[in-house]
């Protein structure tokens, strides 16, 4: 039996089946009011951190860092006309990482006292000393200056926790009603709310207090034709965001209409859940009778809410340096983009492909001031004019590629997990020339426009992939002609990005994202956003996924 199954057997399973299956939600269930109470004061946190750092140094650590974490989460789930679950959770504890003679050790505790943190620091040193026996290459940690006492907060207008639960329930039930009225037979909707209060301190002299907020409203509407036995779903076109509850206040200035004839709406930093749900109900029903695609080569015009997932899988993961080096070989896999491959200077994509990494974009879920090993976050190029120019790396990896500094993308899903290299936001820069999705479609002779993320799968070295979507529309001679179903495209990373014919301009730029990017053993989740504008790829292989059973 897997741990996941065992956790599912707690008393919570009866109250709500969803909670145990959500990774990264380590918790104590609390009253919603608790989510508004402040955590420990920075003066207290500094004292606690110093107790751990001093104990680690005394025990022989050459470097140590302490993460005091308080995670607050709330989720609300509904189906049709009823609430399924409302749970508020809190998790509080400390993770301590030490370096002894070039070997890492890590220990964590939920008993947050000076004495226990000192003891936990010593336990981490003991683990490092035990691991030292089988160490082959000592860790080389990139130098990092201490920042002193600093703080950072996600720029939000209203914390989601300040909004009464009833108001959130009412919004979800109204969205459900909108979808049901418009043609759906069933709908599940949910609202994830996250606040990570993180205090980082290290022997480099940093004391960093951060207050990080994230939000994700989502739903799946299903239409059923009992007579034919057919059913189809359409999922929300929202994105998880690094924003407060203001994301749920509709604003037409933050909306982008899809190409003429598609009846789709994309969302920037404000989302209209009711409008999207109504459209989803109508589209789920329409999917029951849509034309099934004829397989073949098509030019694809991909909406940012779809393309983000393709960027994630085919650029985000293969450019993680730990994967490139083989540290994930037994689980997520390795990468085609090895150091040797990069040295050949081969094209990753066409000259139109410019991909950037960052943890800075406002509204993105990757946005923080400092990473989980005390490095100020930044922006750097991954692919420039179609060539791979850099990887994603943290302090103990920088020297491997001859760099002196970390990129600031270390992350741990909670205080009880050790930090490691995680994907920052990885985004495709929009085109420089003015271009709207309508203008892009005009140039396509035989193509398919795809909106929303669907099924996704890619091999362990990130060559071959297959993606579905939420909505598909045929393009013929520069015009959207009709909606399609049963569409998936298969390609190869370099071939696909090599077929990139350009992107729409900045005015079309939007973020896609997830809370649940998984990596590592034991697995940890991480939040990541991917920005892009609508982009065209020529001559991509499209398959038909309809089967008879």
């Amino acid at each position: 039996m897997k741990r996941r199954d065992f956790v599912g057997l707690t008393g919570l399973a009866a109250g709500g089946l969803l909670l145990p299956s959500l990774p990264g939600f380590s918790y104590t269930a609390v009253d919603p009011a608790r989510l508004l109470e402040p955590g420990a004061d920075v003066i207290v946190k500094k004292r606690l951190a110093d107790a751990a750092l001093n104990a680690a140094k005394t025990a022989g650590a050459s470097y140590a860092d302490v993460r005091i974490g308080r995670s607050l989460n709330q989720y609300v789930f509904t189906r049709e006309k009823q609430v399924q679950n409302i749970v508020s959770t809190e998790s509080y504890g400390v993770g301590i990482r030490v370096l002894v003679d070039g070997c890492w050790g890590f220990a964590s505790t939920s008993v947050v006292t000076d004495a226990n943190l000192a003891a936990t620091a010593r336990a981490a040193v003991d683990i490092a000393k035990a691991n030292r026996k089988v160490m082959k290459e000592p860790v080389q940690l990139a130098a990092q200056k201490g920042y002193g006492e600093v703080s950072w907060k996600t720029p939000i207008q209203q914390s989601a926790f300040e909004v009464p639960v009833k108001q959130k329930v009412d919004l979800l039930l109204a969205a459900n009603a909108a979808a049901l009225d418009a043609g759906a037979n069933y709908i599940n909707s949910g609202l994830f709310q996250v606040n990570e209060q993180k205090y980082f301190a290290s022997t480099d002299g940093s004391y960093i207090d951060q207050d990080v907020h994230r939000l994700w409203p989502t739903f799946s509407a299903t239409a059923v034709d009992t007579k034919s036995g057919k059913f189809r779903s359409r999922e929300s076109l929202s994105a998880p965001v690094g924003l407060g509850y203001e994301y749920l206040t509709p604003n037409t200035a933050e909306q982008v209409r899809g190409p003429q004839g598609t009846d789709t709406i994309g969302y920037k930093l404000r989302y209209d859940m009711l409008a999207d749900a109504a459209l989803a109900g109508k589209q789920a029903k329409a999917k029951l009778t849509m034309k099934s695609v004829t397989p073949g080569k098509y030019d694809l015009v991909l909406d940012p809410g779809h393309l983000g997932l393709t960027i994630h899988e085919s650029v985000g993961h293969p450019t993680e340096l730990d994967r490139v080096l083989g540290y994930e070989a037994n689980f997520a896999g390795t990468s085609f983009a090895t150091l040797e491959w990069k040295a050949k200077n081969l094209p990753y994509g066409s000259k139109e492909v410019n991909i950037v990494a960052d943890k800075l974009q406002p509204g993105s879920v990757g946005n923080v001031g400092y990473d989980d090993e005390g490095v100020k976050t930044r922006e750097w190029d991954i692919i420039k004019d179609g060539k791979l120019v850099n990887y994603q790396k943290i302090r103990d990896q920088a020297h491997i590629v001859g760099q002196k500094e970390s990129d600031g993308c270390a992350y741990a899903q909670s205080w009880e997990d050790v930090q490691f290299q995680r994907m920052p936001n990885i985004s495709l820069r929009p085109g420089k020339a003015k271009m709207s999705p309508d203008e892009m479609v005009k140039g396509v002779d035989k193509g398919i426009y795809i909106a929303g993320a669907g099924s996704f799968s890619i091999d362990q070295q990130r060559f071959n992939f297959q993606f579905g979507g939420q909505l598909f529309f045929a393009i013929e001679k520069g015009k959207i002609t009709e909606p399609l179903e049963d569409v998936a495209y298969q390609s190869n990373t370099q071939e696909f990005w090599g077929a990139c014919a350009g992107s729409c301009d900045q005015s079309d730029y939007r973020l896609f994202g997830t809370f649940f990017d998984g990596k590592g053993q034991p697995s940890q989740v991480s939040s990541v956003s991917h920005g892009s504008a609508t982009t065209r790829f020529n001559g991509v292989n499209v398959i038909n996924t309809a089967r008879k059973v």
């Binding site: 707690t10 109250g15 939920s110 059913f231 070989a329 037994n330 099924s455 070295q461």
Partner: protein
């Protein structure tokens, strides 16, 4: 603290229930002690330990319910936890799917679910096993990445209607990927046991190493429909995905592969080859499991598919009552009846086909037909005249377990994987849709 005896656990739970002022109250204690070690590039990369006990209290007033949790067990904390659950319950909306808590239940006994040898695993033992495995690969100039994870857990339950449950379980998982230094060969092995006595890291390392060495210089052959032999590690996830889709409510609501045209579900229909029989049994000596579900319902021996006919679907208590159907909880593991042939025997009996070690990144494409896509990985070989001829490049597949189990050619001897008993399967017309350069 992590592993409480039945008496210790029930004493805490009795105390919790004594603090309740709600109409109904249920308390669950859940504890795990365990550890893991991970290696890559023939060196240990991380090691960790787990030592947790937590209490979940569910309080109910009428149809309103609230849950609170804590991980300290002094009287004041327990009392606060119960109060919090009651406060949350009072604020909650009424559930239209409310079902009263169950009274005393009779559970099967599954003593094999706990093995002392597994519970006694130490960090030194883990490091030693990984170390020995790495040494084997070092000697062959191969690179290994492995993960060893073990746990000793207990779960105890008690409610205000008199239900009482307790069980202890152990588990260990080991996976290893071995690669050739040129990156052109990769092999994999996996094991999962309740009892450490069955574990042999050296044997698994040799299997992965042999697959790595023999998968170098793979030839590209055209994608298309092939007869395949899916080793248990390749078959397990496709079958698990199907078993997880056997919920009766989804089927009755018309949104499952088990929904019937015109309404209702396909229970009683023959959907698969007659050699397909899948059941669950928490007392099975090879895959002993919990004898009660998360909500306290007893886990019995249940036949899900018998000779190709759908015999049972699982359900929530609410849906069982509403649809007047048998009240069967979802199982945590499943057993597919196998034959006597090993994978090697299946290869011998194959004129032309592909041997698949493992499938990877499997994702649903169409829930209507249970169509999944994914790729072969870590050892894919061409078979001709009963022999492995050469390694082939990996493929992407688009296939449904429903179609697979209709195109069944042979079923081999089942082995334990992920808490299930999974046979190797020989299947005709398995659909590979493209080639992958990944090794």
């Amino acid at each position: 603290m992590a592993i409480l005896s039945q008496t210790e656990a029930q004493d805490i739970l009795k105390k919790v229930l004594s603090f309740s002022t709600a109409d109904e109250c249920e308390a669950t204690l859940n504890g795990t002690i365990g550890g893991n070690v991970r290696s890559a590039r023939n060196t240990i990369s991380t090691a960790g330990a787990v030592d947790n006990v937590s209490l979940a209290v569910q309080s109910r007033f009428g149809k309103r319910s609230g849950v609170a949790t804590c991980n300290e067990f002094d009287e004041a904390t327990l009392r606060r936890c119960v109060q919090r659950a009651e406060e949350i319950a009072k604020l909650a909306p009424e559930s239209p799917e409310y079902v009263p808590l169950m009274g005393p239940q009779k559970y099967l006994s599954s003593p094999a679910s706990f093995a002392k040898r597994t519970a006694d695993i130490t960090p030194d033992y883990r490091a030693q096993q990984i170390g020995a495995s790495m040494a084997l690969c070092d000697a062959k100039k191969l690179s290994s990445a492995a993960f060893f994870n073990d746990s000793n857990s207990f779960i105890a339950k008690r409610n205000s209607k008199g239900l009482e449950a307790y069980q202890q379980l152990t588990n260990l998982d080991f996976t290893i990927t071995v690669r050739t230094p040129d990156g052109l060969g990769s092999g994999y092995a996996i094991a999962n046991y309740t009892d450490l006595a069955k574990f042999d890291a050296a044997r698994l390392t040799r299997v992965a190493a042999e697959k790595a060495a023999s998968s170098v210089k793979a030839k590209a052959i055209e994608p298309g429909k092939y007869t395949v032999i899916l080793e248990p590690a390749a078959a397990v996830e496709m079958l698990s995905n199907m078993m997880r889709s056997m919920d009766s409510r989804n089927a009755d609501e018309g949104r499952s592969f088990l929904s019937k045209k015109g309404g209702g579900n396909k229970k009683g229909e023959k959907m698969f080859d007659e050699r397909v029989t899948i059941y669950s049994d928490p007392t099975h000596p090879e895959v002993p499991d919990l004898t009660f579900a998360g909500d306290g319902r007893p886990q019995q021996k249940v036949t899900w598919i018998e000779k190709g006919v759908v015999k049972n679907l699982y359900t929530s208590q609410f849906w069982a009552q509403k649809s007047n159907s048998p009240d069967i909880p979802p199982p945590s593991g499943w057993i597919m009846e196998g034959g006597t042939q090993s994978t090697a025997d299946l290869i011998k009996g194959t004129a032309k086909g592909i041997l698949v070690t493992r499938l990877w990144y499997i994702r649903a494409v169409d829930p209507q037909t249970l169509l999944y896509t994914g790729l072969t990985r870590d050892g894919t070989f061409y078979i001709e005249n009963g022999q492995i001829k050469f390694p082939v490049k990996n493929f992407r597949f688009n296939e449904s377990p429903v179609i697979m189990l209709n195109n069944l050619e042979a079923v081999g001897k089942a082995v334990r994987l992920g808490g299930n008993l999974v046979p190797p399967l020989k299947i005709r017309d398995f659909t590979f849709t493209s080639l992958s350069d990944a090794v």
